[in-house]
């Protein structure tokens, strides 16, 4: 078996992204004055226009980054530090309890340094935040609210447009980590009144190592990387031309195929979940309403099976899945998301992507339907 169901960790590069990556590998420096430099810059700016159009921003609101983590850090630290510099009071920051570590750890770090005061807003058992709870935490000094578009583990979609609409009249900017959402969800910063956004290419068919931040006009942001000031002065560093062209190509393809993909992935993920939840002690987590969960995600709780053992056996079967967000050491640790949502049992995330086939899903169903009861029947010594 060779079934890849870990697209939420890294998806397969799309053919369009592969092609332009090779085309632009020999690009000159995009900041150089000569003709070759100008040609490179044209590739970068065209990519910027395409990304902007795909996300509902203007081109100069797009900043290319090394990925989602950098984009999140740029938004959180950049906006909070700019607010601190502009006001006399310590800025107040609200994030959801289910944020990816790129947001959560940056926010906690800012708070521990005394650069911000921090409030975390909890989530329901479905992993979604409640807009009124966020609004209840607002203060005069609130400088930023950061709530992810969709959760990376559960696939829960947050009411971002509703939240942004409520924050806009109060003049509070909303940053959203859209890293997990963009592959299957139409995100538009103008329509949804989003002030800042983070995206990562390898989640929607670009290579690893490239992403982008959207930072709306009139939103002051302090740069994190100082140097040549290449990207709007907010992000220094030589343009990664091939990667930038590649992320734009992947995003174009994603937007063009998204509607069809969502229909297909909803069918496949529902089939996967429906079959596996017929097994004893297996539950699907996340929102029940299919419009509130990503088409790509199936998150299960499995009773009476050790996570490490399940991971070992699945890997031996050639079925690539995730027990949770992978930490730096590679261990699968107790997830703050599942704790916040009150979810128990051994977690198993199966995430689908643009090249997932019916055959992949059928193979996974067969493999897991044999494996899970077998492991439950022979729990052995584990504690």
């Amino acid at each position: 078996m060779n079934v890849y169901l870990d697209h939420a960790a890294s998806s397969t590069p799309r053919p369009q992204a592969r092609a332009v990556l090779l085309t632009h590998l020999d690009a000159a420096n995009g900041s150089a004055a000569h003709q070759r430099g100008q040609n490179t810059r044209a590739v970068i700016e065209e990519a910027r226009e395409r990304v902007a159009a795909a996300i509902g921003a203007t081109p100069h609101e797009v900043v290319f980054t090394s990925g989602g983590t950098e984009a999140d850090n740029l938004a959180l630290k950049g906006i909070i530090w700019a607010a601190r510099d502009a006001r006399r009071t310590t800025p107040h920051l609200i994030i959801s309890a289910t944020e990816h570590a790129a947001v959560k750890d940056a926010a906690v770090w800012l708070a521990e340094r005394g650069d911000a005061t921090l409030d975390l807003v909890g989530c329901g058992p479905d992993g979604c935040i409640d807009v009124d709870q966020v609004l209840g935490l607002l203060r005069a000094e609130t400088a930023l609210v950061s709530v992810m578009t969709a959760n990376n583990e559960l696939g829960s979609i947050n009411p971002i447009a509703e939240l942004a609409a409520a924050l806009a009249p109060k003049g509070v900017p909303l940053h959203t980590d859209a890293v997990q959402a963009i592959a299957t969800l139409d995100v538009n910063v103008t329509r949804d009144q989003i002030s800042a956004l983070a995206a990562s290419g390898h989640k929607f068919g670009a290579p690893q190592g490239v992403g982008f931040a959207v930072l709306r006009r009139n939103l002051p942001v302090v740069p994190l990387h100082h140097g040549g000031g290449q990207d709007r002065g907010v992000r220094s560093g030589t343009f990664a031309t091939a990667l930038i062209a590649s992320v734009a190509a992947a995003l174009d393809a994603t937007v063009a195929e998204r509607q069809q993909l969502v229909i297909r992935l909803n069918r496949l993920s529902d089939k996967l979940a429906a079959n596996l939840t017929t097994l004893e002690g297996v539950r699907r987590n996340g929102p029940v309403d299919p419009t509130r969960r990503l088409a790509s995600h199936v998150h299960l709780s499995i009773d009476d099976v050790a996570g490490e053992l399940l991971g070992l056996r699945l890997d031996a079967l050639g079925i690539a899945t995730s027990g949770g967000a992978a930490c730096s050491s590679g261990a699968t640790t107790a997830s703050h998301v599942l704790v916040a949502a009150g979810i128990t049992g051994t977690p198993l995330r199966l995430s689908l992507g643009w090249d997932t086939t019916d055959n992949d899903i059928d193979t996974a169903i067969t493999g897991l339907s044999e494996l899970i009861p077998a492991l439950q029947a022979h729990p052995g010594v584990w504690a």
Binding site: L309, D315, S328, T333, G380, W382, A383
Partner: protein, 370 residues
Amino acid sequence: MSRVLVALSGGVDSSVAAALLVAEGHDVTGVHLKLADTPIDAPPGHGCCTLDDAQDARRTAAMLDIPFYVWDLRDAFHSEVQAPFTAAYATGTTPNPCVTCNEKVKYAALLGRARTAGFDALATGHYAQLRRAGDPVTTPGPNVTLHRAVDRQKDQSYVLYMAQPEQLAHTLLPVGGYTKPDVRDIAAKAGFRVAQKPDSYDICFIPDGDTAGYLEQHLPVSRGPIVDTDGVVLGSHDGVWRYTVGQRRGLGLNHHERRFVADVDATTNTVTIGPRDALSCAWIRIAEPRFSAVVPDVSELKVQIRAHGRAHEAAVTKDGEALHVRFLEPVYGVALGQAAVLYDRDDDRCYGGGMITDADRDAVYGPRHG
């Protein structure tokens, strides 16, 4: 060929253990255990040792082309090793956390997991030898005996004394037959980045070796007297957990004579100090011994009473479930809580052992005590 799970710490010994198993033709899978969190005083900007170790272990596995997993055992490590370590010091004893870890997390417990996961054996980079009918063990199976390592300087049979016969039957210790320089040589030839990685000597969750500093963060100040062997108060201490029997430094007393901690009594919150003679100990008691072999009821054995130290000749007798160990020559500085491990007369084969639960303190208090 057997299916072998090898515990890869990220050090040179376990890397070479894995390499030897692969060379012997076993079907090998590597696992790295995430045990302790980053020390809070780790310098910022430098990845913690734990992360570097995990990375090194992963690299070894990749070079050997074997599957590799990281298991998060921080909760078990904290509840089974770190918390009891602190609690033991609070009762005036001196625990050996490596012994506890091997029993509760790293060896015995991991072996249970390996068996559950369908492996025939667990292998580690411990320096100790397994033999079957006198020959080195290279495949799992029954009738295995535990012996000191070829490299006596590195021998770790002491921390594996709790291994039961059925556990030894599913254990492989590939590096026990090699000297440390041999192991480094094998690692260098294999191109492992850890070939020259320094050995770890300290308690892994106290990397700077400052045990008192670690305990300070976890135990309250509890002031009590420091007395001499006649009961004369010489000074005061901030907690019995700062002291270990045999300790000489850090007593904070101006004394011309060389003075040692002779006893630590948590019930009276008293530290007793005395000259070296006061450390003399004729017998110890092991309340709950564990054996990997049948030990004759009365026998002359060698008994090792601390991790780094020689074994002493002793007569060992059973006392119900407990063991009574009488040394042929007095030993000095026996701390309760340390493991006493029994070897044969040749000081080669390890029979088992247990935690020292009582010890002769006549030299401290006179013959009536205890």
